[in-house]
Amino acid sequence: MANDIAIVGYAQSPSLRQAELTEPQFLFPVISEAIERAGVERREIGFTCAGSCDYLSGQTFAFVMNLEAVGAWPPISESHVEMDGAWALYEAWVRLQHGDIDTALVFGSGKSSPGLPAEIYPLQMDPYTLTPLGADPVSLAALQARAMLDAGKITEREMAETATRSRKNAIGNPYAQVTGDDDPETLLKEPYVTAPLRRHDLPPISDGACAVVLATADKAKALSKRPVWIRGIDHRIDIHQPGMRDLTESPSTRIAGKNAGVGKGKVDVAELSATFSYQEKLLSQELGLGDGVEINPSGGPLAANPVMAVGLARFAEAARQIAERGKKRAVAHATSGQCLQQNLVAVLEGD
């Protein structure tokens, strides 16, 4: 039986199409703000874990430089995942289960703007049959969207409605990059980028960062009037080869959601890493989220997609809904790989 761990502080940078600052430079104030909001002393933090991607940065060991934003002297205990910061949060959650430390700092950061995502992402495929194809994320997402359309599991209008709602929700989000109040009819008149996906179905290219501070139960109660409890967390992987799975389903999301305990109570709000518009419906169904659930009130990844921070930002936004907006129970979701290959789901609750 896992111990409850709480989110006691969080902060984000604005998501920008092209950041002028370096990753450690824009991480610097984000990490400081998360620590300040948690009310802990920097020296008290027992473990630090970061998520980022050297391929995105175009520099080997770029993640080491990001540690400058933490303050690494005297030496700290830290780790790094070549994944979204949400997986760094998972590692920190596991580390806190040991019980010998009571506080952990997690952050994720990335700059997508310097490189070309269509060139970089095929490298996450197997090097023998898939990488040489140069299958970029938009093409793969278009295949998945097409599979869902053909199976009658979604319509182009529903995809446009998701984009419309995301953009409208994002108007109130100071960290968002893409906002707007166009109606679905207007969006549907736009040409395809890669059929059946139009521009509004794609996430923006973003640079940005997010940081979260976790604490064990006693520490969290001492630090925060309204700690946000992580009641369950799980992550699963589907088959790597996109041709070997039914793209209209996401069993990894379903299993992770079940293990995290999504169905054990009423969900008020969900922050989903639906990076492409059609994924929101697929994820909602696999997680069993009904009509009464508010999805991506922040605007979600269609409004801001700082790769390697976008999943952790779902935790920050879900926690904000509980700590600042009075919601009781929230779901946070992160994804990685092509066509929702890997999925992480957590259930957050206020007292």
Partner: protein
């Protein structure tokens, strides 16, 4: 991807390996503090930020002190000496791989500048690699005006000044004593 060797391969033999060459390009804006550093270099000046809390000097400036975790600003900018002491060095023996241009061993040195400030990964000129040693006193050799290029200065690898500085050459003075540079570099 195809080369003459492939013609010699037995078409019935199992595939043992395959070549896949690719290139990734990155274009990044110079961050504001490094842009100021680059502008100064074009002017044959070396600048840094002195941390208002611990006094350590960072060149190129980062906009923060990673030890104290405090921001640094234009107010913390100082001009650095263009003479200093070799504090450490690495001899790199090139392994030939695709795209590698170096063929002979070369040295990269770390420097402690007179009056404060450190630079790493600098080229040492006029000295055979087997004679490189800590304590050597050196001075800057600027690239000629027409060859100094701001384009070669990037946000990456704090401490490089390629494009403006050709390297560092011995001043001919006697070596510095270890007392002059030990415990000053981190």
């Amino acid at each position: 991807m195809t080369d003459a060797k492939q013609d010699e391969v037995d078409p019935n033999a199992p595939v043992a390996g395959m070549d896949f060459f690719m290139q990734l390009e990155y274009h990044e804006l110079l961050c504001p503090v490094v842009r100021e550093f680059a502008d100064a270099l074009m002017d044959k000046r070396l600048i840094g930020h002195r941390c208002p809390q611990c006094g350590l000097v960072y060149s190129p400036p980062r906009g923060y002190c990673p030890i104290c975790v405090v921001p640094t600003t234009k107010a913390d900018e100082i001009e650095l000496a263009t003479r200093g002491i070799v504090t450490n060095y690495t001899v790199v023996t090139p392994v030939q791989y695709y795209g590698q241009e170096e063929t002979e061993p070369f040295a990269k040195v770390s420097l402690q500048l007179d009056g404060g400030g450190n630079l790493s990964l600098q080229d040492l000129l006029e000295v055979p690699v087997e004679q490189v040693h800590p304590g050597m006193r050196v001075e800057v050799v600027w690239a000629p005006d027409s060859e100094r290029k701001v384009d070669d200065i990037t946000n990456r690898s704090w401490g490089t000044a390629e494009g403006a500085i050709q390297g560092w050459k011995p001043t001919g003075e006697p070596d510095a004593s270890p007392d002059d540079y030990s415990d000053k570099v981190f």
